[in-house]
């Protein structure tokens, strides 16, 4: 079985960390895996996309339109931008937060108000209030791991393996808070 995951967000939200956690998971599960990342100019607050593909054997490193099993979106507008990469029956895990792009701030554009409606009309959608929940545990930056916790339920990996990899990947000082964030996203903490 092959699983294609797409992680989207705004540059600086930690899509790279997230894809690397997924990569390690697949590796520990003994699977072939490929990740594709964006570095350089696109990271400066722009729209950022990373791909993770794992299975017995993986060819191309990118996920294509109508190909993703799971879309992990750290921001609503980015979820809308890339939802069509989901395959029919795919799952969107969306952080319920709005970061207006400069085009909206300057008034040249309007932030769409019907994003969630549009996505739920076509795909299974899980909305996560990760930004608020991460703030509530005193660690706003751990929102990405919280979203990952919500997405974890839709992957073939056991919770214990997730926790093990998170422990190995995040900076040592943040292990505790990231574990907590993950479990909240997973639905086992508060």
């Amino acid at each position: 079985m092959k699983t294609d995951i797409m992680i989207v967000g705004v540059g600086g939200q930690g899509t790279l960390l997230t894809s690397r956690i997924l990569g390690k998971l697949a590796l520990k599960a003994g699977l072939d895996v490929k990740l594709s990342e964006v570095h350089g100019m696109a990271q400066r607050g722009g729209s950022v996309v990373t791909f993770v593909r794992f299975g017995e054997s993986v060819g191309e490193p990118i996920v294509e339109e109508s190909g993703a099993d799971i879309l992990i979106a750290f921001e609503k507008l980015e979820a809308l931008r890339y939802a069509h990469f989901l395959k029919p029956g795919g799952t969107a895990v969306v952080n319920n937060t709005e970061i207006p792009p400069i085009t909206v701030v300057t008034g040249a554009d309007v932030y769409p108000s019907d994003i969630i409606e549009r996505i739920t009309a076509k795909y299974k959608t899980e909305l996560v209030n990760a930004t608020e929940k991460a703030k509530a545990i005193g660690s706003p930056k751990s929102f990405n791991v919280l979203v990952l916790g919500a997405a974890a339920k839709h992957t073939p990996f056991a919770k214990e393996l997730w926790l093990e990899v998170i422990k190995e990947t995040v900076p040592p000082k943040t292990i505790e808070v990231n574990t907590k964030a993950f479990l909240i996203g997973y639905g086992e903490g508060e």
Binding site: S36, V38, A42, Q43, G59, E60, E64, H84, P112, R118
Partner: protein
């Protein structure tokens, strides 16, 4: 050993150099090549450095090779142009120790000013090119490149693309080979390229390429997949990342996978072509393989149905070759774009806000500050290549005169100034130009992810090293005045820019403030809005800081996580409606 690990393409190239017993690496940072050096420096057996530019890096590696060591140089595609002068002649001298150039192309221009194909440069320079398709091959091909380099007495290019460089896949690790540094034997007819010697070397270069082309079919890096396929109605010639797309869509079709893309093993390809019906050539960017096949009378299809621009994908092949419907479209036709931006607290924004206020035009350069071209600041008028700002401004002055240039400045980063801006400043002064140059000195190479350079006091290995004084250099080059100013001191900055633009000669303003993302920087303060005092004038929003937004009532909101407390917005507010507070404070929430 023989562990399987997940590695970036660039990390794998560094590993390949390590295993091949490379001992010297020189490079200038550039997306998507930077991580090669950042990883290679972790191997203590390899001396690795940042050179001030790619030409210098090439000469360092050439010197190491002539002395008998295996040497690597890496750069982005446009860096290959900077290094072209030594490279074209290194093809003539050949090597002593293996010499490998990694050229990282950027189809789709994720972080580049053009989309050139480095294979074309290599073809013009008569340098063999290897093109890997995943991280595992990136490592193995780098090792093979060293071997090929020594066997054929030539520099060898390993060509990567962004998709390969920044994708991770599994790599099997091997031990470092034990290869001795070769003896250096004085040989001016090989290493001194004056006309008499070069005339004798040129036929050797041509002969070398012909003999490599002839044995191409025997090289393990060139191979045919599915040679025994039952369906041979269509077949493919491909290389690099596009190979993955071909395999994704046509897993059972015969595929000639080229590892060596220059020189082409034409007869080997001709034999393969005879075994298939329609032959497709799948290569990103220029039709390098396709045109040579067509010129050799091998019937094939390529750019007639596939684009010369950007990246390929499996979906693209499905549409072009199988006639399948185009891939799904976004769920909405009007999704606001999200272009990259200068970070909150970026010192460039502060300088640009002054230039914007003074209605200056700016000849720009390559770096984060190129983003000063986009609204709302829209200060930058031109961006060509590394180091071009000062010389393009000089060209304008010579074309349109001194009065015209008073509405203009040149802006260039510290790392870019040291790359090739110095030469431009020298040329402007020497040729009695007028104009004001602003060096945006943020103490790092920002856009590529914070690499040190000759003015930061640290080297690639993180050791302390001599730091060049920018003011002293500019003075020595003959700038009429050189003025240092804090990038966030708006008043002084404005006064200085007005004064220098009105003056004669070539003057330099060094606007100093460290990049906001530099490690070790702490931002204890944030700015918060005082709603009662806000008159909704929008002055604070004008520089386009992403931490500031306007809410439904037209009042300002500041993202506490995003704000780095630079206070640019506060300085622009005439109504005291923005206040500085310690980040830890809950007041104002």
């Amino acid at each position: 050993m023989n562990d399987k690990v997940l590695m970036l393409g660039n990390e794998a190239i560094a590993r390949g150099a390590y295993e091949a017993c490379c001992t010297v690496s020189s490079a200038y940072p550039g997306t998507p090549s930077t991580e090669i050096s950042e990883n290679i420096v972790k191997y203590k057996e390899i001396y690795a450095e940042w050179a001030p530019n790619e030409k210098v890096a090439a000469e360092v590696a050439i010197g190491a090779s002539i002395s008998g060591a295996r040497a690597l140089l890496s750069m982005k595609h446009v860096g290959v142009n900077v290094a072209a002068d030594p490279l074209f002649t290194a093809a003539y001298t050949g090597v002593n120790g293996g010499l490998v150039l990694v050229a990282a192309d950027d189809p789709g221009m994720y972080s580049s000013q053009n989309e050139q194909d480095s294979r074309m440069v290599a073809r013009s320079a008569n340098i063999p090119v290897l093109e890997p398709s995943d991280s595992g091959e990136a490592k193995e091909f780098t090792k093979f490149a060293f071997k090929l380099s020594e066997e054929y007495d030539t520099p060898v290019m390993v060509r990567t693309t962004t998709r390969l460089a920044h994708s991770q896949s599994l790599v099997v690790l091997n031990e470092r080979e034990d290869i001795k540094t070769k003896e250096y034997i004085k040989n001016p007819s090989k290493y001194v390229m004056m006309p008499g010697a070069a005339k004798l070397r040129h036929p050797i270069v041509e002969k070398r390429m012909l003999s490599l082309s002839a044995v191409g079919g025997e090289l393990a890096v060139n191979r045919v997949d599915n040679a025994d396929s039952e369906d041979k109605s269509i077949g493919f010639v491909t290389s690099g990342i596009p190979y993955q797309y071909v395999k994704e869509v046509f897993p059972h079709a015969p595929v000639l996978k080229l590892g060596l893309v220059h020189p082409l093993p034409v007869e080997y390809i001709r034999d393969f072509a005879k075994t298939v019906g329609k032959l497709y050539v799948i290569e990103e960017l220029e039709p390098l393989i396709e045109e040579q096949l067509k010129a050799s009378g091998i019937d094939c299809i390529g750019k007639e149905i596939l684009t010369i621009q950007g990246e390929y994908s499996a979906a693209m092949l499905k549409t072009a070759i199988l006639g399948e419907a185009k891939p799904a479209k976004p769920l909405s036709d009007s999704i606001p774009a999200r272009p990259p931006l200068l970070c909150p607290g970026c010192p460039h924004r502060s300088v640009f806000s002054v230039l914007n206020k003074l209605k200056k035009h700016a000849a720009g350069d390559i770096g984060c500050y190129t983003l000063g071209a986009v609204p709302p600041l829209a200060v930058i008028d031109t961006t060509i290549c590394m180091g071009s700002s000062i010389s393009t401004l000089h060209g304008m002055e010579k074309a349109r005169g001194r009065e015209y240039i008073k509405d203009w400045v040149a802006v260039i980063g510290d790392s870019t100034f040291l790359h090739t801006g110095i030469n431009s400043l020298l040329g402007s002064v020497y040729n009695k130009s007028n104009g004001t140059v602003i060096i945006l000195d943020n103490r790092t190479t920002g856009m590529t992810g914070h690499q040190d350079h000759a003015a930061t006091g640290k080297n690639l290995a993180g050791e302390e090293s001599p730091s060049v004084n920018l003011t002293a250099i500019c003075t020595a080059l003959g700038a009429t005045t050189v003025t240092e100013v804090n990038s966030f001191d708006l008043e002084t900055l404005e006064q200085i820019i007005k004064r220098e633009c009105a003056g004669d000669g070539v003057s330099v303003v060094i606007a100093k403030a460290p990049c906001v993302l530099l490690k070790g920087n702490v931002y204890p303060d944030i700015v918060i809005p005082v709603k009662a005092k806000c008159v909704k004038c929008g002055a604070c929003l004008r520089p386009g800081c992403p931490a500031l937004t306007k809410n439904a009532e037209g009042l300002i909101e500041i993202d506490r996580e995003g704000c780095n407390g630079c206070q640019l917005c506060k300085k622009l507010c005439k109504f005291d409606a923005l206040e500085v507070q310690p980040r830890t404070s809950k007041v104002g929430e």
